[in-house]
Amino acid sequence: MRAGGSWQRFRRRLRYWRDHGERHRLLWEEMAFHIESTVDALVAEGMSEAEARAAARRRFGNMTHKAEESRFTWIARWINDGMQDLRHAFRGMRRDAGFTVFMIMIAGLGIGASATVFSVVNAMLLRPLPFRDPGSLVWMGNIDSWTATQPEHFSDLRQLNRSFTDMAGWSAFYFPGDKQLTGAGEPERLTGVPVTGNFFAVLGVAPLIGRGFTQEESEGKYASPSAMLMSHAYWRRRFGEDASVVGRKLTLNNKPVTVIGVLPESFDFASIFAQGTSVDIFIPWPLSDPNKPRGNTMKVLGRLRAGATVNSAQAEFTALGKQLANRHPERNALEPHLLPLAERVSGRVAPALFVLACAVGVVMLIVCANLSNLQMARWSARQKEMALRAALGAGRWRLLRQMLTESVALSCCGALLGLVLAIAATRQVAQLRAFNLPLLESVRVDGTALLFTLLAAVGAGVVFGLLPAWRVSALTLSGELQDGSRGSSGGRRHAWVRDGLVVAELAFACILLVGAGLLIRSFVRVLEVNPGFQPERAAAMRVDPSFRITNAPQQNVFLDELLQRARSVPGIAAAGITDMLPLRDDRSWGVSGKGQIYQRGHQPEAYIRVVSDGYFEAAGIRLRRGRAFTEMDRWASERVVVVNETMARTLWPGQDPLGQSVATDGGRRVVGVVADVRHTALEATGGLEMYLPMRQTGDYAAMQLVVRTTLPADSLAAGLRVALRAVDPNLPVKEFQTFQDLVDRAVSARRFLVMLLGGFAVFALVLASLGIYAVISYSVSQRVQEIGIRMALGASAGDVQRRIVLRTLGLAVTGLAVGLAGARALSNALGSMLFGVTSGDPLTYVGMGALLMAVAAAAGYIPAWRASRIDPMAALRSS
């Protein structure tokens, strides 16, 4: 009953509000009727018309007041006041439109940057992973957080553990383009990930159409999976979202396969587990098949049972790991290392995102300081209006509120612009597919980001509006404005506040500049790193034959023919084949020299590369000692190996590595030593490397033809394709991947950070210089007469300029001192992101300081120059 009444009242209120103009008119008519009736009655009593009217009005009271009071029963008073303030605000904005547009642009850029960074942080850190109950998913590394696990260990752990409801895994041993799909138009190279049968069930991802793998399908043969699932992106690209593809029989690596389903769009395997690549299909990984790849090939995750925590699971797994290692000394080492899946996915980028978030926060502070300053100047010019409103009875709180409403309205307009910018920016960011960053594709402005933008707008409006509003309303009410209209002392206290704001802006800009400077220098250092190969003019192309190679002589012939054809293409200076590309693919074995015995867990691990003759030359890897592989290192000849310098040093310290034997892979003699190559990242040294001649082994998963060209690689692709068709007419070849692409991808995360932070620093510098320009010009405009008098008394234009530039530099030096100190204190937070420079790198500090001073001096020089042009006579007469 009660609730129904208040609901009806609310609806009535809404209706009244909707037609409040009409209601107001009618109310007025009703009151006029009342007065007319009173007049009629009084006239009937014998009063004169005029007297009667006056008496009626007296009896009635103030009509406007009553009308207003009536209106407040329809609309709450604060809404009414707010609307009024808003109307005032927009009127004020229209009045100085140029100023307003400028302020909205500054606010828009600041809020746009904040919303963009928030969207990135939201996608990578805040938003839960697109799986069922992602909080209970746990990643299991082995020894460290990224090394894979042996499948046999996985099977035992899955059976023995009590912490997880289930565990799943996928093969770390897949490579981009190592599957060939035929039977649906042109043959095509695909990237397929072998996964355990329960993989999607454990993640809680159901196929969009079709079904998951059955028990039978996931216990087949590794080399010939009978079923495959498609990623949504591949389904769209290749089959145009045709649902009838489910159930079709295709040919995968020359074996029949049935398409059993399509995964939902929200499941983007690559963006979560293998950034910067794309994954097209998923095939079952039969753990029971003895012919699957051996060794640490499995990436493992599990879902915690209710009540279990990562810590309790870790304790159990440590114990299980020891138990299994004792029971199976023949297997690889096992030291389970658990961490929440979300941490594994984006933990790597968290520090960088933290820096970005701080940077954008500082940018927002500069924006607020700048807007504060501009608003102060604007309201000082409107102090007369404020004084008038105060005289008419507006309280300080009411004035404050009006000014704050105006600031918030301004920043909300800015937020609209910012939102447009953020949407554009996030679209761009989401398309940086090649970037080695997790969940990048899911970056977008969503509801949370909208809410954030709204809060940022209101917050910024209040923050930048509060100080000037406080100052102005205080001055207005204390009556200081009477003498504030002229003279040089007009806004002493104003000036103090303004200078403070500019110093703060400069200090913040300085912090950002130093941070960006340090990262840029690190970036340059990273690019200067010698990766051990020459990325310029080197490119790779998948060339695995479409037929199955059954024996070693056949493979030798294929390689001979392929290399010979490739080398005969004009423009190709060198060609060789490798199974792994630097900075992209990895696999490692334990290695030892002949006769060397290592304790368990202390055996050196070396990266294994299977390469043909010509590879070192094509990739630009320097030969240090001995010889490279030749065509004569064949199946039937002596088994040889080439090692890198680090491996030579590690296995045979102080000895000549040439002629030594490694015990690995059945024993091989070292014939050459090559330079170290950086594989995992440009920032990290590569470690041990061992190169096996391709003609002497079948243990490789891919054939990448690497060429060194004298012409741009793209122009050679077509010619090369034609040449290779002669070797294998069905050879499915994709475009070249240049080595430069590999390097670019390796530095992409760093480049992303540097680009954003550099952009913020430039923006901050521009804002700070605008701030200093505004303050100096304002102080010049306030002192036109003083300057006029000085010049009339003989001061030269140079004197005037010097005084003003000195004042500017005074502000700049103060800001710089605070900023450099702040930067030094905060720069340690960059820690892990720096490379080749220390956080106290003097060159950066001096350089950025000089840059800031130069910009500040330039910003101050313009008003100084203008001041020196003041005509003393005109200046004195103008008042």
Binding site: G5, Q8, R9, R12, R13, Y16, L26, L27, E29, E30, M31, F33, H34, E36, S37, T38, D40, R59, F60, G61, N62, M63, H65, K66, A67, E69, S70, F72, T73, W74
Partner: protein, 112 residues
């Protein structure tokens, strides 16, 4: 302006009650309500006439009365108010409470 005592002479909420009571006599416009209150109180209660209108708006918003436009005795457009069912209920509650309060006051003052 606004210094007439009449408004302060009424207990808070009393004006609403008086208006509701007056309207038990049928459809009335604002002027008639003011006149009736004055007459029935033998000119003791002089409402500042303008104050009637915010009160009417409030009562209407709360659904206690309902206004419709019609023609007055001398053929002018005027707004006539009438009690709603809810208004009647509200009036009986209010008058009961008022009786209690004034009775208590009277007892204290020794009038009763």
């Amino acid at each position: 302006m606004g210094t007439e005592k009449s408004k302060a002479d009424l207990l808070p909420g009393t004006l609403d009650m008086l208006v509701l009571k007056t309207l038990t006599r049928g459809h009335l416009h604002g002027y008639a309500i003011a006149q009736l209150i004055q007459q029935l109180s033998d000119d003791v209660l002089r409402v500042e006439e303008g104050s009637l209108y915010p009160a009417l708006q409030r009562l209407e918003l709360n659904g206690l009365i309902e206004g419709t436009w019609g023609l007055s005795a001398n053929n002018r457009r005027a707004r006539f108010y009438q009690l709603t069912a809810e208004g009647r209920k509200h009036l009986s509650q209010e008058s009961a409470r008022y009786r209690q309060v004034t009775g208590a006051v009277a007892r204290i003052m020794g009038f009763a």
